[in-house]
Symmetry: C2
Subunit: 244 residues, 2 copies
């Protein structure tokens, strides 16, 4: 039977989601824990990769097991290090696939435009000037919708030819010195959320005009935007699925 | 001349404020940084010690230097690790003393009564049942004011005989699953904030009645309360001084 899991992790101590020889990965830790419980090697399939130092509140993965375990969530968590926590486990139809069944993904990017805080150093992107959120909100209207995002990601065209994606919504919300950029979309290419976050930040700092942003988007050219943003500020919040 | 500094740090990586041979301490890191800049050994005096894993948003310390340095704050920060940050530096009267001049101190204690979050594991105390904040607010009325807090701290009577302290106010505030207990007082004895936090939590969980709490306070006896609370949830927010 197929198990669907929702997992939260602190990305600080990981080289990312995906297994890489010689590095600590989230996938590796979870596979080890489940394999120990199942007493056989188990492979898990994530909804998507998160890069080194990127956090997850609600990453999703699935795996197959022939047996039904009682309170498997608790059992897995007891084998996991403290920076990974399985929030939910449910048995789903065999047709469910964490990646292919995904309906939309929600990422947040956190920016601190107040004084540096050592307590938040691994959990946000620090900038030194005040953001103009109203200007940023105007810029989101350029990016929302279905566009070719070739200019705003690091996936080569040879790897994925079709770089058209749909961003359903981008929300900008301030709480004191912390500005949260929330992205909801059908899929995001490599570094896309971080690059778009940086574009919005540069608009908010008045270093990039709405006209320039619009031109970048229409250029569909990886040379026109060299922006990126620290991994520490990025959170995979939720992978959403249609009821199956 | 005397320098007054306000410093913020993430307590996770430290054995506490105070220098201890063989352990990483906040005081040691700051003294090293200032000594390097001053080109001579400098001792700093903190407003109080924080224990291992306890955080600070606004710890205060002072030190003496014969020279006036230009932008010394930036210079010190450039020598410090990323988990310590000097927020403010000012030159004060020689009569100022970070500990003896303190007027009141403000500590926060954070409790998560929602699901465990790996992202917050070093930054709050995790409990597994819901807190009743209204009940906790009633309990604060027992603890506020001037009392002998012998029952609620770990400082031996032989060390400090007078264990009468004044708590000006205790605020309880919820934001989603995070309950913040804010303590304002003229001074706190060893483990006092953590022990009082745990008392309030046990009241909020209905494991301790208001009558029992009142009795504990009046007993003035270290045997009547064995509660304590994880250091991870504790923050020294501010040391306040009268205008001098």
């Amino acid at each position: 039977m197929r198990y669907k899991c929702i997992v939260s992790y602190d990305g600080t101590g990981f080289a990312g989601w995906q297994i890489q020889k010689g590095y600590r990965s989230v996938q590796q830790e979870i596979q080890q824990a489940i394999s120990k419980i199942a007493n056989q090697p188990i492979k898990i399939v994530g909804a998507g990769r998160t890069d080194s130092h990127v956090h997850a509140v609600g990453q999703c993965f699935h795996f197959d097991l022939d047996k039904q375990y009682k309170d498997i969530r608790k059992a897995i968590n007891s084998q996991l290090p403290k920076d990974i926590y399985i929030r939910e486990v449910e048995i789903v139809d065999e047709s469910f696939h964490s990646r292919f069944s995904a309906f939309y993904k929600h990422y947040d990017y956190l920016v601190n435009d107040g004084p540096y805080s050592p307590l938040l150093r691994n959990y946000c992107y620090q900038i030194h000037d005040r953001l103009d959120e109203e200007l940023m909100r105007k810029a989101t209207k350029i990016l929302e919708g279905t566009h070719d995002f070739t200019s705003f990601n690091a996936t080569s065209i040879s790897e994925i030819e079709n770089q058209v994606r749909t961003i359903y919504k981008i929300d900008i919300e301030r709480r004191d010195n912390m500005v949260r950029l929330s992205f909801y979309g059908d899929g995001f290419l490599r570094y896309m959320v971080r690059i778009l976050s940086r574009c919005l930040i540069e608009v908010g700092l008045q270093n990039l005009s709405l006209e320039q942003l619009q031109k970048m988007l229409l250029a569909k050219n990886k040379q026109v935007c060299s922006y990126n943003c620290a991994a520490e500020g990025l959170y995979l919040i939720e992978v959403s699925y249609l009821p199956y």
